[in-house]
Symmetry: C2
């Protein structure tokens, strides 16, 4: 069979097992879906309306140039449409990025336990991954830079705010990272959660640099995870390469209409952010009441340090799942002492609180 | 900058310029959109309803395993879900296929003037393309097989029915192609238009072979081009490789809901096919009345031989565009003596007939 040696060698791993697959395994549906960092506060009603309208126009391909959407995104940021590349979610854009930059043996550096789909795409193109440990449960800028220089990595992945810890760095530090990233390294600045971060964490969006790509999405604060639309902000000469390898008609007509409507409804975004912040506080309180330590979060989830080892946290997680509340946990030590809970409605958070109490009691009883 | 030498070398070509881009250039909207082989008869009202409903659930990611949809597709064909791989349109699946099979210098064979997005994806992965001429305006099975053997191509692309000619081969011939494709070559059987072909043209779908992948889509007869959902039928061991490199959440929640509803409404599909066949006949008559030769078609378009060279057909095309009727033409000789017109409503076809008459008169006057 004519597959490449790389394709034959790759494992059939999945970056994330979907909640539907877990439900099929458990045989019952979840009562609360708090594991995929989706926004239960949903997309704006105007987005739903725009997508429903676009549904009936879906006999026609979407605009492969994403002209109106790129114009709107550019206007939103005070940039030029040539600074914007739209794609099928950040994951899809990572696939194109890996394809454009990596040949077998090329290296990329990321943090140990950081976003797995970046790793999946790097591996899928034959790249080798270097991992730098988190430091005090945050990404370690200096160690990442050192590794990038030392190993001449083609990509440096940095999420701000970070998933799975929810942590963030202040703008001055991120700007230093941008400045000090070697010229031959591309800084992959994953800002999926930027709409939920304190403004002090975000370098000015107009600070364009040829070797920095900033990834933004409609999946998180805009509440459109199931729609699949994201974009890159970058220098036109860097962005332009994506046109050589992308799936031109890949962003659906509904997705383009929805993203346009989402951008136009900043009021809904502000309300959602306020609701997420309130729910984040509530989650932190639930964790504290259970004598666990919630990490500070600039995202739509709260990561909770269970205070012991990975086996304990895994047991806590399994107990919560058994109560039909979907949450996740980081897979790699030392982050695997934590569980990660997406914000939800008051009702959903109470379900989680009850599930957590029950699960903790069992875990403490069984593991002593 | 850390781009691969291939990425730097690739041209920034676009497989298809979208009608929106042509409209922006012309400064006026088209009156009829008959150039992209979309179905103006639209998706089923049940599909629109299902997608509109899914729009409000789009805060949640779609199922990355496409479980329900793969089950439904498998049931539709009498196959197992492991025979099915769902993706973001055939174009998206071609991207994954190229990634899985091609290393720089590997070869693929196709017909000269056939579907350009296949070529784009092969080139995007460093593959070299071999082109076999059409024979009597149909793909030449023996010549394709000869070239595949001679050049040891990893991929052999064959569309049945074909775009841009609208032609088809009978099942017995396609089965011979399947049988005679070398073991080390993967037969890429593009059946985007299969729902519009005479049943005698399609090998039994249960005829599974490890080195044959059959590509089907909801974009054409199902009228869902703007939704982006397609699938591959193949052997489980071949299909499984796609899980190593795909964009797991790439098929949106709305797309999955829409495709499920489309499959469930086979009555609408039959009606659409009947409408397309009637419109095809009308288009053939329009061509005949203009003293041009319509090619037999098993698709949702009719390709019309303008009877002279590429310059003449290009002039005819430009004249039709100037009348604000969007059509296309093959770009490569000898197919470039033709124009390609997608079926439309009666009203749209009359607009085309009038535009064609006017354009032909001008072209004949100017080119003698």
């Amino acid at each position: 069979m004519p597959f490449t040696s790389l394709a034959l060698r790759l494992p059939a791993t999945v970056p994330f097992v979907g909640p539907e697959a877990i439900e099929r395994r458990l045989g019952v549906p979840f009562q609360a879906r708090l594991g995929a960092n989706e926004s239960v506060f949903g997309p704006s009603p105007r987005v739903v309306e725009a997508m429903a309208r676009a549904a009936s126009e879906s006999w026609a391909y979407g605009d492969p140039e994403h002209f109106a959407l790129r114009e709107a995104i550019a206007a939103h940021h005070g940039l030029h449409p040539d600074n914007i590349m739209v794609g099928e979610g950040i994951d899809g854009l990572f696939g194109l990025l890996a394809k454009l930059t990596l040949e077998p043996g090329d290296r990329a550096v990321t943090s140990l336990g950081a976003y797995p789909t970046f790793n999946y795409q790097v591996a899928g193109h034959g790249g080798s991954l270097d991992f730098v440990p988190y430091r005090d449960d945050r990404e370690d800028i200096d160690a990442l830079l050192d590794r990038a220089r030392e190993k001449r990595t083609k990509l440096l992945y940095f999420a701000n705010p970070d998933n799975p810890t929810g942590s963030w760095h202040e703008s001055a530090d991120v700007e230093r990272l941008m400045r000090e990233t070697p010229n031959d390294t591309l800084l992959v600045l994953d800002e999926a959660y930027s709409d939920l971060a304190p403004p002090s964490a975000l370098p000015p969006i107009g600070r364009i640099q040829p070797n920095v790509l900033r990834f933004r999405t409609f999946s998180k604060a805009y509440g459109m995870a199931g729609v699949r639309v994201a974009y890159i902000v970058g220098a036109p000469e860097t962005i332009a390469h994506f046109n050589k390898v992308r799936n031109h008609f890949g962003v659906s007509r509904m997705a383009q209409a929805g993203a346009l409507a989402a951008l136009a409804d900043q009021g809904f975004l502000s309300e959602t952010v306020a609701r997420i912040v309130r729910a984040r506080d509530r989650l932190a309180k639930i964790a504290g009441d259970a004598e666990l330590r919630p990490l500070p979060s600039a995202t739509n989830f709260v990561t909770i340090d269970c205070g012991r080892d990975g086996a304990f946290a895994r047991k806590v997680l399994d107990g919560v799942l058994a109560e039909r509340v979907f949450i996740r946990m980081p897979g790699v030590a030392p982050l695997d002492r934590m569980i990660r809970v997406t914000v939800g409605t008051d009702e959903q958070l109470e379900l989680f609180a009850a599930a957590l109490a029950k699960s903790l009691e069992k875990a403490r009883r069984e593991l002593g």
